[in-house]
C-alpha cells in the first residue's frame, strides 16, 4: 500500500487488520516522507524498478490519494518480459481531479475536505507531517498536479479498480468514474458514506474489499 502525501500513520491499522485476516500486506513509505521520493512519478518508477530487481510480484498494489498517482506510474512502468510484477491496481481516492489541477485549487479542496473528516484523523497525520516538513510536502503537492493518471492508464495492462469515497470533497465522483471508464479493464467502486481519507477508521470494509478484489479473476 502506498499511502497519501507524507503520511502513513493513518492507515497502519488498516494494514494490521489485513494481516490479521490473512493478507500479506506491506505499508510502503509515504511519498514525501524522509527517505522516499517527493516526486510521484519518480516514486512510481523506483517502486517498479525495485520489484524487478527483487523478482517480486504484487497481487494488488493499493494507492491512496496521491499514492494512487505513484501506484499508477508503477503499474504503467515497463518491466522485463514475462508476467507483470503488479497483477492488479487499486486507486483509492485518486488525485488530482482536473478541475482542481493547480496548487491553490488542490489546497483549497484539501482544506474543504478536512471539514468532513473524522476528528481522529488529524492527530494521526500531524506527527508524520512534522517529520516530513513543509518543503517536502510542497514538493509532493507540486508533483501531484503534474502527474495525470488518465495519461498513465493506457499503459497499464492489468485490471484497475478505482475506489471513490462517496463524501470525498477532493476527488469528484465524475473524475473517479471517468478514470474507471478510461481503462479497458477498469472498475468503479463507491464506498457509501466514506471520505477522502478512507480507509481510516473503516478498516473492516477495506479488508472486505481487498479480499473480494483478490478473489476476482
Amino acid at each position: 500500500m502506498i499511502p497519501g502525501a507524507a503520511v502513513r500513520g493513518y492507515v497502519r491499522s488498516a494494514v494490521e487488520r489485513l494481516r490479521h485476516r490473512g493478507v500479506e500486506a506491506t505499508l510502503l513509505p509515504a511519498p514525501g516522507e524522509p527517505g522516499a521520493p517527493s516526486d510521484l512519478a519518480e516514486y512510481g518508477r523506483e517502486l517498479a524498478a525495485r520489484l524487478v530487481d527483487r523478482g517480486s510480484t504484487v497481487d494488488l498494489l493499493v494507492g491512496l490519494s496521491v499514492g494512487a498517482q505513484a501506484a499508477a506510474v508503477a503499474a504503467a512502468t515497463p518491466g522485463r518480459p514475462g508476467p507483470p510484477r503488479i497483477r492488479r491496481v487499486m486507486l483509492v481516492s485518486p488525485t488530482v481531479d482536473p478541475a482542481a489541477r493547480t496548487v491553490p485549487r488542490l489546497v483549497g479542496r484539501w482544506l474543504a475536505g478536512g471539514r468532513v473528516e473524522s476528528p481522529s484523523l488529524l492527530p494521526r497525520q500531524l506527527p508524520d507531517w512534522w517529520r516530513a516538513g513543509p518543503g517536502r510536502i510542497a514538493r509532493v503537492v507540486r508533483s501531484a498536479v503534474t502527474v495525470d493518471i488518465e495519461r498513465v492508464l493506457p499503459s497499464i495492462d492489468v485490471p484497475v479498480d478505482v475506489v471513490h469515497a462517496e463524501r470525498d470533497l477532493i476527488t469528484s465522483h465524475a473524475y473517479a468514474a471517468r478514470l474507471a471508464a478510461a481503462h479497458n479493464d477498469g472498475r468503479l467502486v463507491v464506498i457509501p458514506g466514506a471520505t477522502h481519507s478512507w480507509p481510516h477508521g473503516d478498516e473492516d470494509r477495506f479488508v472486505d474489499l481487498v479480499r473480494s478484489t483478490l478473489e476476482r479473476p
Binding site: V163, H164, E166, A174, A177, R178, A181, V190, I191
Partner: protein, 447 residues
C-alpha cells in the same frame, strides 16, 4: 446551432418539464451528487419554502404567475433553436466513456436505472412553454393559437414535430397563462450524434426508449398536432366530451411520453454506421417499466448484501436518483399522483416480496383534479401489503397544493439510512437482461 439572436436553451425549455428535470436528476447522479429542490437555486428553494406557508388562495396566484413567467414570447418562437437545446442537454453530462446510453422517451423509472448503470439519457421530447393568457376551459382557442404561432417555430426547426398539448384538468393553473409546445425530435440531433460518437465506449449499445402510447389529436400540419388532454387520471374520452374541445381526426404519439418513430429510425441508421448495436426498449405508457426497474435494482442491492426492504416511490419529477442509490432504496417511480399510478403500485406490491417500509413522495400539481390519488389512498395501499407507509416531506393538510415539497424532499431523503456496502455500477448486461426478462426489449444484441 444558429446565431446569437437565438434564445438561450435554458430559457427555451420549461424548468418544471418532466424531461428537463429527470435529465437534471440523472446528470447529478452521474456526477455523484444529490439533486435538491428539482435543480433550482437555493434562493428559489428558500422562497418556495417561505411561500409555501401562505394560504392557497394567495399562493395559487403566485404559483401560476411564477410558473407562467417561464413562457416565452410567441413572437420569438422563430428564435428558438432546438439544436442548441440538444447541445445544452448533452453538454451537461460529465465526460467519460459510457458503456451504453438511453435515447428517447422520458421515464422516471428508467432515469433511476440509468443512474444505477451510470449511463446518460438523451431526451426525445422537451417542453417549450409559450406565454398565453386564456381561458383554460377552451382548448379550441389554444388550437387556434398554435395554428397562428407554430409555423415560425417549425420553419426554424426542421427536425422536430410539435405536439401542442392542452390539459385543463391536471395543468389547470398553468394553461391559464401559458400553452405547452411539447417538441419531439424526429431525427437524431447533430449534438446527440456528436455526443454518442465522442462518449460511448467501443461497441457500446444504444438503447432506444420507445413509449408507444398515443392520443387522439387534431392534425394541423404534417409536423404539428394538437392534443386535448394528457396522460394522468383521466381517459381521452373524458377530455373529448368537454365543451369547446376540437374533434380529433388522427392519433399521434402521446405529447409528453410518446416516442416519435422518426427519431428511432434516425438513431437506427446512426448505430448501423457507427458500430453500436441498437437495443429497442418498447412499452406502452410511462408507468410500464417501473416494476421491472424496481425488481432489477432490488436484486442488485441484495447481491451486495443490502437488505433492500425499503421501497421509495418517486412521483413525476419529485425524486433523486443519487439519493436513491446512496440509501440503497428500491425505486418504484409513479408518473403522477393519480389513480392509475396508485393501482400500479398496488400491483407492484402484490407481485413483490414484502417490503418493510414504503416511503412515498407525492408530486403536487396544485389542482384537485379528476382521478387524483390522495395521501390516505397511498397509505392504505401500502398498509394492505403489510408495509409501513411514510409520506415524505408532505404537509398532508395542503395536498395537492403543498408546493413547498419541491424544496423539502431533499431534506427528507437525506435522513434515510445510508447504504452500507461498497458498490459498482449495475452492469449494462444485468440491466438489459432484467428489462428483457420483463418483456420490455424488442430485440437485443447477441440474442
Amino acid at each position: 446551432m444558429r446565431d446569437s439572436e437565438t434564445l438561450p436553451p435554458e430559457a427555451v425549455v420549461a424548468a418544471f418539464d418532466s424531461a428537463t428535470v429527470l435529465h437534471g436528476g440523472l446528470v447529478s447522479a452521474l456526477d455523484g451528487r444529490p439533486f435538491p429542490h428539482l435543480g433550482n437555486s437555493r434562493l428559489a428553494a428558500a422562497a418556495t419554502r417561505v411561500g409555501g406557508k401562505l394560504p392557497w388562495s394567495i399562493l395559487r396566484g403566485l404559483y401560476t404567475r411564477i410558473g407562467a413567467a417561464e413562457g416565452i414570447d410567441p413572437d420569438r418562437l422563430a428564435d428558438v433553436d432546438m439544436g442548441a437545446v440538444a447541445h445544452w442537454l448533452t453538454d451537461s453530462y460529465p465526460t467519460r466513456r459510457y458503456p451504453a446510453a438511453f435515447v428517447g422517451s422520458s421515464n422516471g423509472a428508467l432515469a433511476h436505472l440509468a443512474a444505477a448503470m451510470q449511463i446518460p439519457w438523451l431526451p426525445g421530447t422537451v417542453l417549450v412553454p409559450v406565454a398565453r393568457v386564456a381561458d383554460p376551459a377552451r382548448p379550441v382557442d389554444a388550437l387556434e393559437f398554435g395554428r397562428r404561432h407554430a409555423p415560425a417555430f417549425l420553419a426554424a426547426n426542421r427536425d422536430v414535430s410539435l405536439h401542442h398539448m392542452h390539459d385543463q384538468i391536471q395543468d389547470e393553473l398553468m394553461v391559464a397563462r401559458m400553452t405547452y409546445f411539447r417538441t419531439k425530435w424526429s431525427a437524431l440531433p447533430q449534438s446527440y450524434a456528436d455526443f454518442l460518437r465522442d462518449n460511448l465506449a467501443t461497441g457500446a449499445p444504444v438503447v432506444l426508449v420507445e413509449d408507444t402510447s398515443s392520443w387522439p389529436v387534431v392534425r394541423v400540419d404534417e409536423r404539428h398536432v394538437f392534443q386535448p388532454g394528457a396522460q394522468g387520471g383521466v381517459e381521452p374520452e373524458d377530455y373529448l366530451r368537454r365543451p369547446h374541445t376540437p374533434t380529433p381526426d388522427d392519433d399521434a404519439p402521446e405529447a409528453e411520453w410518446g416516442a416519435d418513430p422518426g427519431l428511432g429510425q434516425s438513431l437506427q441508421r446512426w448505430c448501423a454506421t457507427h458500430g453500436h448495436p441498437l437495443v429497442r426498449l418498447t412499452y406502452r405508457g410511462p408507468q410500464a417499466p417501473a416494476h421491472a426497474v424496481a425488481a432489477i435494482m432490488r436484486d442488485w442491492y441484495r447481491a451486495r448484501g443490502e437488505p433492500a426492504d425499503r421501497l421509495l416511490v418517486p412521483s413525476f419529477v419529485l425524486g433523486d436518483p443519487w439519493r436513491t442509490l446512496s440509501t440503497a432504496s428500491v425505486p418504484y417511480w409513479t408518473f403522477f399522483s393519480v389513480q392509475p399510478a396508485l393501482d400500479a403500485l398496488d400491483d407492484h406490491l402484490a407481485r413483490s416480496e414484502p417490503y418493510r417500509d414504503v416511503d412515498v413522495l407525492l408530486f403536487q400539481h396544485g389542482a384537485d383534479s379528476l382521478g387524483i390519488a390522495g395521501p390516505a389512498e397511498w397509505e392504505a395501499v401500502v398498509r394492505k401489503h403489510g408495509a409501513t407507509p411514510r409520506l415524505l416531506a408532505l404537509d398532508r393538510r395542503r395536498f395537492p397544493h403543498d408546493i413547498a415539497i419541491n424544496a423539502r424532499y431533499d431534506q427528507a431523503l437525506a435522513t434515510l439510512p445510508r447504504a452500507r456496502h461498497p458498490w459498482s455500477p449495475l452492469t449494462v448486461h444485468s440491466g438489459l437482461t432484467g428489462l428483457g426478462e420483463a418483456g420490455l426489449l424488442r430485440d437485443r444484441p447477441g440474442t
